[in-house]
Subunit: 395 residues, 2 copies
């Protein structure tokens, strides 16, 4: 599995490289101008295609973002990240969304402009994520100790992502802060021989946390050594525990630190986040009992929904907790057969049912899928207990 | 193709039958009670699982629907319809959604309860949709004339769907009207030999309309002969011209009629509906020139969007017109690579761009898809020019 993932990652990088050439040598243009002391000239005319611009924003919950020569400035490492997490796409989305939420706590959306990470190149990221070896001295994961059982040195660091926060001063954008997310494995999947069966190696929590702290310190040191990053720009690191590959939800961020200036990190602050898959399975660990009452009402909701609509395949949920308090719920309803009128009736039925069974006061997103794709979604922003129905029509 | 579709349809019907047994012999229970002089007893308690109930409704634009013994009353022919239209799923959704819109013009959502068609059984529908033959005397499509070129008798009637409208009187639901949609082929796809290559046969417009009128009269006569349908319940028929299989949009309803009582239909009323795929292809017929100014602004929108976001595969639209006036627009944006932050930025960018490029005053639905599925929606209800962004998150 792991070997396949790396091969896949390299293929993606190659495809991406071709795409970049196709789209006008996009990245190389960026790197020459944006990485120039972290300061870039912006143009104020939104119709101009040249130079750096920022998007407007729909509301205060989102950042303005950077447009360079008329194009959105994509992350340098996104293709890599996507493949790295291929074992569990919930990790991928949860990690990126969660990192952006973390960033919002430290860089106000009203003051800062968001820029996809531009300092860590794809090549450097691949080297860092690989094992340390004679031909890869910068590898952050441990050297291969030759073992193929639980005494092997696991891959601790699975993914890394950078987000940049800029301030706008007239026509210029200036780097004001960097947030680095590091996705740490709780379980490593590996093969004993090429194309052989996959084995799993659980990683001890204390071991994972200790290795994460070391790696984070090293990453901050390396970032600070990059010539375009000023010494006093704060660099945050946020540590994410990846969910296992077979989980129906992503992992969660468990601690963070910041280097205000220079190499040194401060002291670590723990984050108490949990993502719980609903309905909870029998024998779920007591650590997840935070969701036990929600699980009961969710199960009642599922019974009601499944009773209502024949041929329903499954109803699952992802509940996100911080410090023991629910802050969001996603529900996915899958069905195999449907007609357009059934979907309309069903979505409206769910909108009426949800306020009585699902928690109020937090955002709830219910998506209704058929084998042919997404059909409708029913959402509440958590401000009141009303739900909005959107049926994806077709003409 | 056609033969394969029929086989697929039969497989679906078989699967459906198994599902019905699994779900407690659901349909047979229904047919015995609902088809009882079109009157069924409803129970007023919403927690009761027995008897017939109706759902509440979120707003005035939707119907209340029928729940029978705690389950949604599904259409008897839905599995069949779905497979019949497999060549172009836009036809399927466009036909069903459009039929419901047609029904709303004749049966007010505030007065009537919607029930999925319960009078036409799957077996009868299959017989009707098949060719007339010695072993299928009720086939509505013409007998096979043995030809395999353009002189062959084509399949005119591709699909049929029934919708029932009920009035609620205390605990009873009473049939108040039936709407029958008939999907007519504009092009028939056939094979000269089993598993051989597919050929297409265009169907002349006048020929299609004439055959449709005959078939509609016959269908109404057969419905009126069903023992549970009172003689004075109005039966509407709405004729739909299916789009060709390779179209990126569905077809449109072109005429309707009603039998107020007895066998006889009134005079036909033409409907002037058009569905236009955007961007329009070079050489599109002048009949579609209704959309030429929209096509220009849509093309500018596409240029802007594609310039903004690298690796965008395609941006297509479906514009629906009635009597030359636009009444809705769906836009699908496909991209291959993405990160969660990119999708957020992109969706917000589109929400800012849309009011300047896309028409105001009509509902607009923009969906953003990646290879892993739907990522975000940007919608406007047409009441003002603001767009709502919904990013499908994950925890």
């Amino acid at each position: 599995m792991r070997a396949l993932k790396w091969i896949a990652a390299l293929v993606v990088v190659a495809v991406l490289a071709v795409a970049l050439v196709f789209f006008g040598n996009f990245f190389s243009k960026n790197s020459s101008s944006v990485n120039n002391s972290g300061t870039t000239k912006t143009t104020s005319s939104s119709s101009s295609k040249k130079g750096v611009q920022v998007t407007g924003k729909a509301d205060d919950s989102v950042y303005k973002t950077v447009i360079k020569d008329g194009k959105y400035l994509t992350s340098k490492t996104r293709g890599l990240t996507a493949q790295q997490n291929a074992g569990n796409t919930f990790n991928l989305v949860g990690f990126e969304d969660g990192l952006l939420d973390f960033s919002k706590d430290h860089f106000s959306t009203s003051k800062y402009v968001f820029q996809e990470g531009q300092y860590l190149s794809t090549k450097t990221a691949i080297d860092w994520l690989n094992r340390k070896a004679g031909d890869n001295p910068t590898g952050l994961n441990p050297e291969d100790n030759g073992k193929t059982d639980d005494s092997r040195a696991p891959i601790y660091l699975q993914t890394i992502e950078e987000q940049d926060f800029m301030t706008q001063d007239g026509d210029n954008l200036k780097l004001a802060g960097i947030v680095i997310g590091m996705g740490m494995n709780t379980q490593d999947v590996y093969q004993k021989e090429k194309d052989g069966p996959s084995f799993t190696q659980d990683i001890d929590k204390a071991d994972r946390i200790a290795h994460g702290k070391e790696m984070a310190a090293e990453v901050v040191k390396r970032y600070r050594a990059m010539k375009d990053i000023p010494v006093d720009v704060p660099i945050y690191v946020a540590m994410y525990a990846q969910a296992k590959d077979d989980s129906l939800a992503g992992g969660s961020f468990y601690s963070w630190n910041v280097s205000k200036s220079g190499d040194s990190l401060g002291s670590w602050t723990d984050l108490n986040n949990q993502t719980v898959v609903l309905p909870m399975q029998e024998g779920t660990t007591s650590a997840k009992s935070v969701a036990s009452s929600l699980n009961t009402s969710f199960t009642n909701f599922v019974d009601k929904v499944q009773g209502f609509f024949p041929n329903l395949s499954s109803v699952t949920g992802q509940a996100a907790y911080t410090d023991g308090t629910l802050h969001g719920l996603n529900v996915k309803v899958s069905t195999q057969f449907y007609s357009a009128t059934e979907i309309q009736s069903f979505a409206n039925y769910i909108a009426q049912l949800a306020p009585s069974y699902l928690p109020n006061g937090v955002p709830v997103q219910i998506s209704i899928e058929a084998s042919t794709g997404m059909q409708a979604y029913v959402t509440s922003d958590g401000k009141d207990d009303t739900y909005t129905v959107t049926v994806l029509g077709s003409y």
